[in-house]
């Protein structure tokens, strides 16, 4: 193992400089949790490719470029007004109980989630009351080190639209905690950053109670280095998680989606469907781990990851992992990387469709079934238009 001479850790420097100005500072519970988090950052250091989970995403090397985490302005905000009694807490004044119970409780498990917790200068907590079903999605934007907590009470249903807004050369590290109580439902759609040279990291932790449902779609066009890490725990009987995503990567882009879904209770269900297209010099990564805990009988888990390479300078890495400790389960995963189906191309050719057009058609079909997982038609259409634009870029980057 190579260990570098203690290179300066920008996160520790940042904490040293700004600890006194952090939101909510002085509330003992929060100060204590921040102190624990920064201890973890200090102990684990910056992730690099020798750490198994970061094998395909070398953050330490990427940070040696122009993306200075210390300089990134911290922005976490909602674009629209909230409705139906949704409470927004921005850490001015004493925290209500639901914040103390949730903030920094489930979502600190590694350097990056600990860093966003300890360093976020901009932080929001949202509380959706029981049975509330707001018609409009919550639109969340972020850049720099930020933190978000969403607590959805029993029977409520809400949609979260999330967009990174950091500019070129920016550094973003978003930590998000989501707590879904009995029968609650969250539809989560994350769209891509437009800044090619940005580093965009995100760590999501979701706790799903019985009969509650978490649905997510991650649309990515990649950046210099981007990673969305999702941890879901299906805690109650009948809890569900359905996660899908597409990464459409043009020249110089990198996108890593890492998921870990834990079936901790009986009769829980999860599905995952991820599609990657990589053109130019780009790299698409999917690492998905499913754990079925002892006693989580009747769990049903499905996972599919597929990749399409457009040239010899692109790379796709897939690691679908199963960890199973219960015997009465249904678990299946499939993964494939390859080119477009030759027979389909031939068929379309025989119908008079030119090859370029046929390829474009098949690529859309390839991505389409993952995007179709988005329930809301308007959001689906808007995501799809972004996919189309990214696809045009990725295919033109073909060497």
């Amino acid at each position: 193992m190579t260990t570098r001479a203690a290179s300066p850790n920008p996160f520790l420097e940042d904490f040293a400089a700004h600890a006194a100005e952090l939101p909510g500072v002085g509330q003992p519970w929060l100060d204590a949790r921040r102190a624990d988090a920064i201890k973890l950052v200090r102990a684990q250091g910056i992730p690099h490719r020798r750490i198994e989970d970061w094998k395909y995403t070398d953050l330490r090397s990427a940070l040696e470029g122009t993306n200075d985490p210390g300089k990134a302005p911290s922005v976490a905000r909602l674009r629209n007004a909230v409705e139906q009694g949704i409470e927004v807490f921005e850490f001015k004044g004493d925290a209500p109980k639901w914040v103390v119970d949730g903030f920094g409780v489930i979502g600190i498990d590694g350097t990056m989630s600990a860093a966003s917790f300890a360093l976020a200068q901009s932080t929001i907590a949202l509380h959706v009351p029981a049975n509330a079903k707001p018609a409009k999605p919550l639109e969340y934007e972020f850049s720099g080190q930020t933190r978000l907590l969403i607590v959805v009470e029993a029977g409520a249903a809400v949609t979260l639209l999330e967009t990174p807004i950091g500019g070129d050369d920016s550094f973003s590290n978003a930590g998000i905690e989501i707590v879904l109580y009995e029968g609650a439902k969250l539809n989560h759609i994350r769209t891509a950053s437009n800044a090619a040279s940005a580093i965009v990291l995100e760590d999501l932790t979701v706790q799903v109670a019985s009969a509650a449902q978490y649905r997510a779609h991650f649309m990515s066009t990649g950046t210099k280095l981007s990673r969305t890490e999702l941890h879901v725990t299906l805690e109650g009987k009948g809890a569900e998680a359905h996660v899908s995503g597409v990464s459409v990567l043009g020249d110089g882009r990198h996108a890593d989606v890492t998921t870990h879904i834990v079936h901790a209770a009986a009769d829980t269900r999860s599905t995952q469907l991820f599609k990657d297209i990589a053109g130019g010099h780009s790299r698409g990564v999917y690492q998905g781990k499913i754990t079925v805990a002892e006693g989580a009988d009747g769990s049903d888990s499905r996972q599919t990851a597929k990749g399409l390479l457009l040239g010899v300078h692109a790379e796709i890495d897939l690691k679908p992992e199963l960890e199973i400790y219960a015997d009465d389960v249904k678990c299946a995963h499939g993964a494939a990387v390859g080119d477009l189906d030759v027979e389909s191309l031939f068929y379309l050719g025989s119908r008079g469709i030119p090859e370029a057009e046929a390829r474009a058609l098949l690529m859309r079909a390839f991505l389409g079934d993952a995007v179709d997982e988005i329930e809301n038609a308007d959001i689906r259409a808007s995501v799809w238009s972004k996919v189309e634009a990214a696809l045009a870029k990725a295919t033109e980057a073909k060497p």
Partner: protein, 483 residues
């Protein structure tokens, strides 16, 4: 069906589950415990090795001292004290044997107990055997007949003395000295193993087989196998392994290197049945093995088949480097873990050449409190036009306290390559068992039947005699896991 019947019979008659657990009382020569340069020199000296070989070993030892033990596998075991083990043990006073008659009768008895007929008359037609007892190879049969075909099949210690040009050229060329912690340790202290050389255009006239036996206590076994198939050659090789039952853990760290040149084919089968420890997980062999084949030539093929039923800890990834254009790599595996066994095993298929193809079929069975992990890499490099891989990974869980895990890595850097991976996890369904029992098949037999069906694709790949043995082993390994 008859095999199933036999399995059940065997299970019923066996007083103990691990029938190879006996110790042969034979005078042994064992080096003092500990590992340092003097021990490396001593092993090299015992083997009358030339100077270059000693230097090679010392180089490996110096590197090993700088290395740290890997910790990424899903296996947990107490820290190994590498100074608390002997690195060389040999049956005394048989430096050079001209024929089997000179072998200590006790040794022959041991092998007879193991069901390995060393005596030529008793041999299954067409199987040549090399038997390795602790650190040395005690007998190699059928040497003459193989010699006529030009095939060299001998202990590697002999090859180092008599075919240095071949050993120099190929040893460490597939698994480099500093490849990993355990391979480097092996490079420093390996004591014996088999060497096979099949010349150009020769189809080896019989199956080659080596049986490894750990006998002495507080020793480790470090064998080294090197197989070279020249242009157009074919060889099929089988190894089997057993060890006595002891409460201590013994270390086994082997290295196997295969080289297939243009159009050559090597088929390597393993039936690994080291002592797995008792029902409480006490004792058993720590099996840390590096096996790799290099399809160096065009149109070459390397096929690994393994039946892993033994060892307390298994850490083993027989791999193929598909360097030659159109080369083929195969990996067929059955890994059974019962009681407190832990297995982390799989393969690596490295596609470098054009039109290279690989196939992986892995069947993992967990019972009792065992943890069974498949870990595999399929990597396609930019020049591997039209590479193809298909991986199928099935796990079977028997009982509520065991674990089955799958960790595939897929890395593709060529757009024309196609890689497919499928995995399933299931249990022995109640209705399957019920159906069998309603037909008068008892539970133990039914489990053996279902598991053998689950493993069929892999069992079919074994040479016939061993397929039968392996089927029985599957049944015995799972004894007591249901009901």
């Amino acid at each position: 069906m008859s095999a199933i019947r036999e399995t059940a019979d065997q299970v019923a008659t066996l007083g103990e589950k691990y029938k190879y657990g006996f110790v042969t009382d034979i005078e042994m020569e064992v080096t003092p415990k500990g590992l340092n340069e003097d021990v490396v020199r001593l092993i090299s000296g015992k083997k009358n090795e030339p100077e270059w070989m000693l230097e090679w070993r010392l180089g490996a030892f110096r590197r090993w001292k700088e290395m740290t033990e890997p910790s990424w596998a899903r296996v947990h075991y107490p820290k190994i004290d590498y100074q608390n083990s002997s690195y060389y043990a040999a049956p005394k006073a048989n430096p050079k044997l001209e024929s089997l008659d000179e072998v200590d009768p006790k040794l022959l008895e041991t092998y007879a107990k193991l069901g390995i007929p060393l005596h030529e008359q008793k041999l299954l037609a067409g199987v040549a055997v090399d038997a390795v007892f602790d650190s040395v190879s005690v007998a190699t049969t059928f040497k003459k007949k193989l010699g006529e075909a030009g095939v060299i099949f001998c202990p590697i210690s002999e090859a180092i003395r008599e075919h240095p040009e071949l050993v120099k050229k190929y040893l460490g060329s597939v698994v480099p000295v500093s490849d990993n912690f355990f391979a480097t340790l092996n490079s420093a202290v390996f004591s014996d193993g088999s060497f096979v050389y099949v010349p150009k255009g020769v189809r080896c006239p019989m199956e080659l087989s080596t049986y490894f036996r750990i006998n002495a206590s507080e020793t480790g076994q470090f064998e080294r196998t090197l197989i070279i198939a020249e242009e157009g050659a074919y060889v099929s090789y089988l190894e089997g392994c057993t060890a006595p039952m002891r409460d201590e853990n013994q270390l086994h760290a082997a290295v196997v290197e295969l080289v297939a040149l243009d159009g050559a084919e090597i088929k390597y089968s393993t039936v690994q049945n080291w002592y797995p420890g008792n029902e409480e997980g006490v004792g058993g062999i720590f099996n840390f093995v590096t096996k790799r084949g290099d399809c160096r030539g065009r149109d070459s093929k390397i096929s690994w088949t393994q039946v892993e039923t033994g060892s307390a800890i298994t850490w083993k990834y027989p791999s193929c480097i598909l360097r030659g254009d159109n080369s083929v790599g195969e990996f067929y595996s059955i890994a059974i873990a019962n009681n407190y066994q832990q297995a982390d095993t799989g393969t690596k298929m490295i596609h470098l050449g054009r039109n290279t193809r690989s196939r992986i079929v892995s069947k993992g069975i967990s019972a009792g409190h065992a943890q069974n992990t498949y870990r595999g890499l399929v990597s396609v490099h930019p020049k591997a036009e039209n590479a193809r891989n298909h991986t199928q990974c099935d796990s079977l869980l028997i009982g509520k306290s065991c674990g089955a895990h799958t960790v595939p890595y897929i890395e593709s850097r060529n757009p024309s390559a196609r890689i497919e991976h499928e995995a399933t996890t299931s249990k022995i369904a109640e209705d399957q068992l019920f159906y069998c029992t309603s037909r008068g098949i008892n539970q133990e037999e039914a489990v053996a039947l279902i598991v053998n069906g689950f493993c069929k694709e892999v069992l079919q790949q074994l040479p016939m005699e061993f397929a039968v043995e392996a089927q029985k082993l599957v049944g015995i390994s799972l004894e007591g896991s249901v009901g």
